[in-house]
């Protein structure tokens, strides 16, 4: 009846996951209870869960990422403590638990923190920057988000029901094959990624279409803000790379479920092919993450320097160059698998070539600052912190692209330090910069600067104190994923890294405090004009938060930095021209399709993991039926009457005029 599921799946003998699971469960039930008792459920359902508004979906993506950041961060804390204490001893985590933690940490941080964070920011901002009312496929957007949430839910479910993979975040066979990982851990891993992978692919298709097809009047390609360009590049990579991941995991699942032999030791399976395929996705993946971050920094550096982005066309070229080359370097992940010197050298050099456009970007940000009038608001601090940190990560990255150096550093703590250097210093700093920068746009009030700056400094310093010791440990021959060790020389560095982790934790606490303090002081921090940073692109041309239709009129773009031009224009011309004539606006209707579909996908995923076949069929039919119902819908749009549009827009125009006239007076 319940497949492999029985009471032994609950880890009653392991207090840590059980307590963690209980705490999470109590928190979820508490929030749900509060929502129901206070009567917020209808609001939540109509305004958020069924919303197809790209801004709402963007916010939900970022909320998911933030919650999962806490989960992944807890894993990181546990790992750092384990390696600090497990010198000549077993530490406090037995291997079967420690191995789950580092596997879950990697999986969660990449798929359920970094990905939803950048996709959330792209969702929130790109349609605004393009001057349009929504993404190309609003309902599909909602489906994408909820399927990502399903994946996250399944990963966390493994904490209390069964186990998670103990194979590392890429689940290399043959270790991940049934003979060496007979538990459900790898199945949890694979099915959560399969389901959320569909969500990511859908989001990618949606954003590519949005950028290519939905731009406002005059917004030709070379007038798009840099963030839109990096969004385009990143999502092109998603569309090209994620199917590889899906196919690879599908083959692994066929091995595990139906006795196929794609990657087994026996019967002609080839483990090297898995390496090849997973990295053919895996390397573009890191550029999928970091390109949007580059876009965010371009916006931030330009805005806070009070200048247009230096060398815009050069930046576009660099972005697209990275997009293409990132597909040609994956082999550098396994130089030590015994390929010949020609192959190693060619892929080593290809990997270095990516450093050229990346270096160009750094220099262009540098020259954007040159001659600027730099305001060090929190987003700008993250940007400068990023530039310094990312260069160091780039250096170590190029270093491991040199095959002879990689022969000594492959899989070492040096490598661990390197990719945290670029993912924290690049993607996470970018996500935080974007969060600080666009928060007022999403919620209508700014974030507290004092706590924001504290969060930056603690995170920045904490990063170095945590990861420089790992570089050193790598140079001392320490390899990754060690549950315990006996080498005395490694010990002090593990202790320093644990201390660094404490500093990083303070950074995260400051980030949470910033949110709490800002929400409490939201009236004082209110952004009335919609343009709190003296911005340059179109998202600042509408109110904060923007109305559901974003813009009352399609903005007319006449150059780069569209909104900056409009502002300059408005100051020269008379401010007192007549109010324009408003029209009705059609907007897509809300739809529970995404939520319902994800609900059935969760059931199906869980049932697949535990071999509960009747439930698999039930979930599968439910998910398909949801789509059929959606496809047969009669009405998919509703009309906002011109009068309502006018009322909403006039308030904003009034505030904005006050701002411009004040600026003019100065």
């Amino acid at each position: 009846m319940l497949g492999k599921l029985d009471w032994s799946a609950i880890p009653l003998d392991q207090p840590i996951p059980l307590i963690a699971g209980a705490v999470v469960l109590v928190a979820i039930l508490g929030v749900l209870g509060w929502v129901v008792v206070k009567g917020h459920l209808p609001y939540l359902w109509h305004e958020w869960i069924t919303s197809v508004d790209h801004k709402r979906i963007g916010v939900m993506y970022i909320l998911l990422a933030s919650v999962m950041l806490l989960r992944g961060g807890s894993d990181a804390i546990m790992m750092r403590i384990q390696q600090a204490v497990a010198y000549q001893s077993q530490g406090y985590l037995p291997p079967e638990h420690y191995n789950q933690i580092f596997s879950a940490h990697g999986t969660i941080m990449i798929f359920f923190v970094a990905m939803p964070f950048v996709i959330g920011l792209m969702n929130l901002i790109v349609p605004l920057q393009l001057g349009v009312r929504d993404v190309a496929f609003p309902t599909l957007n909602s489906v994408g988000f909820w399927l990502t949430a399903t994946g996250a839910l399944l990963v966390n479910l493994s904490l209390v029901i069964g186990e998670f993979a103990r194979t590392g975040w890429l689940a290399f066979p043959p270790l991940s094959e049934l003979s060496y990982s007979p538990g459900v851990g790898v199945d949890y891993y694979a099915w959560s990624l399969q389901i959320s992978g569909v969500g990511t692919l859908v989001a990618g298709i949606n954003l590519v279409t949005t950028v290519l097809k939905l731009r406002t009047k005059g917004m030709n390609y070379l007038r798009m803000p840099m963030f839109c360009w990096t969004t385009l590049a990143s999502n092109l990579l998603i569309v090209a790379a994620f199917p590889i991941l899906t196919a690879t995991l599908a083959m692994l699942l066929l091995d595990r479920y139906l006795g196929f032999h794609f990657f087994t030791n026996e019967a002609g399976g080839n483990v090297m092919m898995f390496m090849n395929l997973i990295w053919a996705w895996g390397h573009p993946e890191v550029y999928i993450l970091v390109l949007p971050a580059f876009g965010i920094f371009s916006e931030v550096v330009s805005t806070f320097s009070g200048k247009a982005l230096f060398g815009y066309r050069s930046m576009v070229l660099a972005t697209m160059a990275i997009c293409v080359i990132s597909f040609m370097v994956w082999l550098h992940h396994f130089f030590t698998m015994g390929a010949g010197p020609d192959v190693n050298a060619i892929f080593g050099i290809a990997s270095m070539i990516i450093a050229v456009p990346t270096g160009v970007k750094i220099y262009n940000w540098l020259f954007t600052m040159y001659g600027g009038r730099i305001r060090f608001a929190t987003p700008m601090l993250w940007a400068v912190g990023f530039m310094v940190t990312f260069i160091i990560g780039g250096l170590t990255g190029v270093l491991v692209a040199v095959p002879p150096a990689d022969f000594m550093l492959h899989n070492s703590m040096f490598l661990v330090a390197h990719f945290h250097n670029v993912i924290i210093g690049g993607v996470l700093f970018g996500a935080f910069a974007g969060f600080e920068y666009w928060f007022p746009k999403a919620f209508g009030f700014r974030l507290d600067e004092r706590w924001g700056k504290l969060a930056f400094w603690f995170t920045f310093l904490g990063f170095y104190v945590t990861f420089v010791p790992l570089y050193v440990a790598g140079m001392l021959g320490m390899t990754r994923r060690m549950q315990h060790y006996d080498v005395a020389a490694w010990r002090p560095w593990m202790l320093v890294a644990a201390a660094g982790m404490a500093v990083l934790t303070i950074g995260v606490i400051c980030q949470i405090m910033q949110l709490v303090v800002s929400i409490r002081n939201r009236e004082a921090l209110r952004d009335r004009t919609g343009d709190p940073w003296d911005g340059r692109s179109l998202e600042w041309a509408t109110s904060s938060p923007p109305p559901v239709f974003n813009f009352a009129f399609d903005p007319d773009v006449r150059g780069e930095d569209a909104y900056w031009d409009m502002k300059a224009h408005a100051q020269q011309q008379s401010l007192e021209h007549d109010l324009p004539e408003y029209h009705d606006i059609e907007m897509p209707r809300n739809s529970p399709t995404g939520f319902v579909c994800a609900f059935f996908a969760t059931i199906m995923g869980f049932a697949l993991i535990w071999h509960i076949w009747w439930m698999v069929i039930l979930g599968g039919i439910g998910a398909v039926a949801t789509f059929v119902v959606f496809a047969w819908r009669d009405h998919d749009e509703y009309v906002i009457p011109a009068g309502e549009v006018a009322a909403i827009d006039r308030v904003n125009i009034e505030e904005r005029r006050n701002l411009v006239s004040m600026a003019g007076a100065v």
Binding site: G306, A308, A355, Y363, I391, L395, N411, R480, V487
Partner: protein, 277 residues
């Protein structure tokens, strides 16, 4: 296990390339970081002396320089990578004094088996080699992937079941080094560290003779016992019964090692590593 304290020519060459590459890159990275901090500081809004140039958004000369600097660095490093990959290919010969020592390394769950086919002996978790001689490694795995890595001797290479990879190293100084697996292989992975005893070429035959006197015999049966999942705390040595044992493993005539036994139908599996403690 310091990578910058190499004990053989491969490690020495690798770490030289490593250090050289870092310095080549530091030559542009340090000035760039300095420029970032300096520009950020000087052009702060509160500095009245800084000249505001909002129209400085394109300069052909600057563009040329910013594309050229990283490109030139990469051309230089690319040369290093090309030459280094060829000269330091892990399978390339590393000439030494005396006759080369053939070593067939098998990664087991979770220990290392080193077979000396010419000496007809085998050791577990300890590798004894003569100083100065070329060491020809043939590598395979009894089950999952691992990587053979002796940091102070140089390059690492994967071990894979059903396949043979090659690695040539040389240890120049007598002494005791440590090696490990550098690819995660399951619950007993951290216990795959092993000792490397580099002894003088003169005493190597004595060590071989002593080891060959052991009662334990390595043949297909004892190998199958050895490849069961578990940790080996001791340092057993064997007489090698059949010098073709490695080939039998690599060609899967001896089937791959079994995984863990499933303790219960429900997902949580238990493994030998836990019981071994």
């Amino acid at each position: 296990m310091n990578l910058l304290d190499p004990q053989g020519p491969v490690a020495a060459a690798n770490s030289t390339i490593l250090v050289d590459s870092v310095f080549i890159m530091l030559a542009i990275v340090v000035p760039t970081i300095f420029a970032i901090l300096a520009f950020a500081f000087w052009f702060r809004a509160s500095n009245p002396k800084a000249k505001f140039q909002p129209d400085f958004v394109y300069s052909g000369r600057v563009e040329m320089v910013v594309w050229a600097i990283p490109a030139l660095t990469v051309i230089l490093l690319g040369g290093v990578a090309w030459i280094g990959s060829h000269r330091l290919d892990p399978a390339a010969p590393v000439p030494g004094t005396g006759s080369p020592v053939r070593i067939q390394a098998v990664s087991l769950d979770w220990k290392w088996l080193f077979i000396y086919p010419d000496q007809r002996i085998a050791t577990v978790n300890t590798l004894t080699v003569p100083a100065g001689a070329e060491l020809n490694f043939q590598l395979t795995s009894s089950s999952v992937m691992n990587t053979l890595f002796i940091p102070q001797l140089g390059s690492m290479i994967y071990t894979m079941n059903g396949m043979v990879t090659k690695l040539n190293l040389r240890a120049d100084n007598e002494g005791k080094l440590q090696g490990l697996s550098a690819h995660f292989s399951g619950d007993g992975f951290p216990d795959m560290m092993f000792d490397v005893n580099v002894i003088s070429p003169l005493s190597f035959p004595d060590w071989v003779a002593t080891t060959a006197k052991t009662d334990a015999v390595l043949n297909e049966d004892s190998y199958k016992k050895l490849m069961q999942q578990g940790i080996e705390k001791g340092r057993p040595t064997y007489r090698l019964d059949d010098p073709r044992l490695f080939d039998l493993i690599a060609t899967q005539h001896i089937p791959p090692g079994p995984g863990p036994e499933l303790a219960s139908e429900a997902g949580r599996s238990h493994s030998g590593a836990h019981d071994a403690r």
